[in-house]
């Protein structure tokens, strides 16, 4: 992952809102003014301040922050729904601010899909027509775009609902249509602006898992905005934490939970369960230490987290799980190992 191609490269981007934003930007670059001073002197609000992120091919990048942290502004800077005041955003190596209108439309239509918190399904169109909207705009013939939309709807499990109207669907189903609409145009990058925030907790979890699975299966990259750290950890390969327009820390869930950059992040991650962060490979014992039969045991990968392992144990009633990598047995996780892992004694249980 470290070496793969950077699809979105966002460097030192600022967004300042207000009538005197130009002067404010001058003062920020010239005199090094901070957020508070800018607000006092120019009456301008700094939405995003010196943000840099790199999104790599195949990666799900989460931006986590509370409301007003600037995360929704930041994601709109990535496809230029909002013009940056300062800094550079490159999509697939091309500076998006330098594009003319036609090139920008082309980039948005073919390379960057977007899913909104409000879903924004056109109420006058049925599910199929909504899903085909992106290709319709590109002038793709009806047969062809309907075929693509049907395929995308099948991926999100809505094949039976294609001729229904958005008002006939539940919130979760509507958001699936929103996702299918973004997938129909087959973009490399999908921007997700708090897509699941308005849904019931149960539906939300289900969609989170489905979304992650689908994105990985299709090899898409995604930028995912959320105010929920649990969601960010569940979905994201890497997470950036934002506060007051500033990105405080960027890293994997494990890095952030284990080494919070400051007190704010530390407070945030304090209540986070380690269940999803500790993986099978760090709690397993070697196969030789296991006396029982291996053949009858359920299997898992070294990357499976403790939560998933507990699930497997309780479902199958087995005493242990065999850890396999590329079809080869690499270790065994027993119930004892799991209990130690839950307590956080990952290293102690390994041997």
């Amino acid at each position: 992952m470290e070496n793969s191609e950077v699809l979105i490269d966002c460097r030192s981007v600022w967004k300042v809102f207000g009538d005197r934003s130009r002067e404010a930007i001058g003062a920020i670059t010239g005199r090094g003014l901070g957020k508070q001073e800018v607000l006092r002197e120019f009456g301008c609000v700094v939405g995003v301040s010196d943000a840099s992120i790199q999104v790599r091919r195949g990666e799900i990048f989460c931006i986590m922050g509370l409301s007003g942290s600037g995360k929704s502004t930041l994601i709109r800077l990535l496809n230029r729904l909002i013009e940056p005041s300062l800094g550079q955003v490159k999509v697939k190596g091309r500076d998006i601010a330098a594009m003319d209108a036609a090139t920008l439309r082309e980039t948005r239509a073919r390379h960057i899909g977007m899913v909104f918190q409000s879903v924004a399904l056109l109420p006058q169109r049925n599910v199929l027509e909504n899903a085909a909207f992106g290709l319709e705009v590109q002038g793709v013939p009806k047969d062809e775009r309907n075929r693509a939309a049907e395929a995308a709807l099948a991926k999100v499990g809505l094949s039976d609902w294609m001729l229904r109207y958005p008002s006939e669907l539940s919130g979760g189903m509507q958001q699936r249509v929103g996702l299918a609409r973004a997938l129909t145009s087959d973009p490399e990058i999908i921007l997700m602006d708090e897509p699941f925030s308005a849904l019931d907790p149960l539906i939300r979890r289900q969609l989170q898992d489905e979304f992650r699975q689908l994105t990985k299966d299709l090899g898409k990259s995604a930028v995912f905005i959320t105010h929920d750290l649990d969601e960010a950890i569940r979905i994201g390969d890497r997470i950036a934490i934002m506060k007051d327009g500033v990105i405080i820390q960027t890293g994997t869930a494990e890095e952030i939970v284990m080494n919070p950059a400051d007190q704010y992040v530390a407070d945030f991650v304090a209540g986070i369960s380690r269940l999803h962060l500790i993986k099978a490979h760090s709690v397993m014992i070697s196969a030789g230490q296991w006396q029982g039969a291996v053949d009858g045991l359920p299997r898992c990968s070294p990357e499976a987290d403790i939560d998933a392992l507990i699930g497997q144990i309780t479902e199958t009633g087995s005493d242990a799980i065999a850890v396999e990598e590329d079809g080869k047995l690499v270790g065994i996780v027993t119930i004892r190992n799991l209990l130690l892992g839950v307590r956080g004694d990952a290293d102690a249980s390994a041997h």
């Binding site: 239509a109 977007m114 056109l122």
Partner: protein, 275 residues
């Protein structure tokens, strides 16, 4: 002050005379065009016998409103014929249709432009306010001076009165596209034309249809008033009945107007709701 007022009035009068003298061909042309449109619509409406027209309109009402409304519509129109006012009723309908078509041909594009261009909208609002505050029969005066007695004058005055609601509600509808759908369009990479046809217009349609319905109703009110300038139809019947104190005829004509108004109002309102 008095001199100034006299001078002002004289200038207006002279300007009007100048127009009738030097631009007569324009007004004669306009008069012929409007009269021709009115005659054509009226001829079409009177082509089938009254029971066929009544049945057809009843059928339409049945389709959009239901069986009861369909039967009531056909019966109510038959009553107009039974009162011996069929020709007048159709003449009024022809005026309303012709005036509304002209009014919409102007006000829908204008309303769309105003919806897209806030400056045009700001400029239009006071004009529309003025048009709507003036007593409607004011508009008969300049038209009668330039176009003379007859349906052409009635049409011009009716068009003026019928335009404001359609302009206002079209502009409002176009402006009120929810922000999230504008963002959706931008993020999907729509062209400005696609943004209008595929996103703004569908959301504006209910408001635009309400405007069409309002214009139609305004046109109805004005067409009756325009009886004074020889519009023909029920307005002129009522005007004649008032002058001769023929109360029975004026009531009959009023009933015919109510029937026509209600039928058109209900049908267009329901069409506006379904789409």
């Amino acid at each position: 002050m008095e001199n100034f007022v006299t001078a002002f009035d004289t200038t207006i009068d002279n300007a009007l005379f100048w127009l009738t003298d030097h631009a007569a061909f324009i007004f004669d042309g306009a008069r012929a065009l409007l009269k021709g449109l009115f005659d054509a619509v009226q001829w079409l409406l009177l082509l089938p016998p009254f029971y066929v027209t009544a049945a057809l309109v009843g059928l339409l009402a049945w389709r959009v409103l239901g069986l009861g409304a369909g039967v009531a519509t056909a019966l109510a129109l038959a009553v107009c014929a039974a009162m011996g006012l069929w020709t007048e009723t159709m003449a009024t309908l022809a005026l309303v249709i012709a005036a509304t078509v002209i009014a919409l041909a102007i006000s829908l594009p204008l309303g769309v432009l105003a919806g897209l261009m806030p400056r045009l909208d700001r400029a239009l609002v006071p004009v529309l306010d003025l048009v709507q505050t003036m007593p409607p029969y004011i508009y008969l005066l300049p038209s009668i001076a330039l176009l003379g007695f007859g349906p052409a004058t009635a049409l011009v005055a009716t068009v003026i009165v019928a335009m404001p609601p359609a302009i206002r509600l079209t502009s409002l509808g176009i402006r009120q596209t929810p922000h999230e759908f504008i963002e959706l369009g931008q993020a999907t990479g729509v062209t400005p034309a696609q943004m209008f046809w595929k996103i703004r217009l569908p959301f504006a349609l209910p408001s635009i249809m309400a405007g069409v319905n309002q214009s139609l109703m305004m046109a109805f009110g004005m067409v009756v008033i325009a009886g004074i300038v020889g519009s023909g139809g029920l307005g002129e019947t009522i005007y004649g009945a008032i002058r001769t104190l023929d109360i029975a005829t004026s009531i009959n004509a009023s009933i015919a107007i109510v029937v026509l108004t209600m039928v058109l109002d209900r049908i267009t309102q329901s069409l506006a709701r379904t789409k």
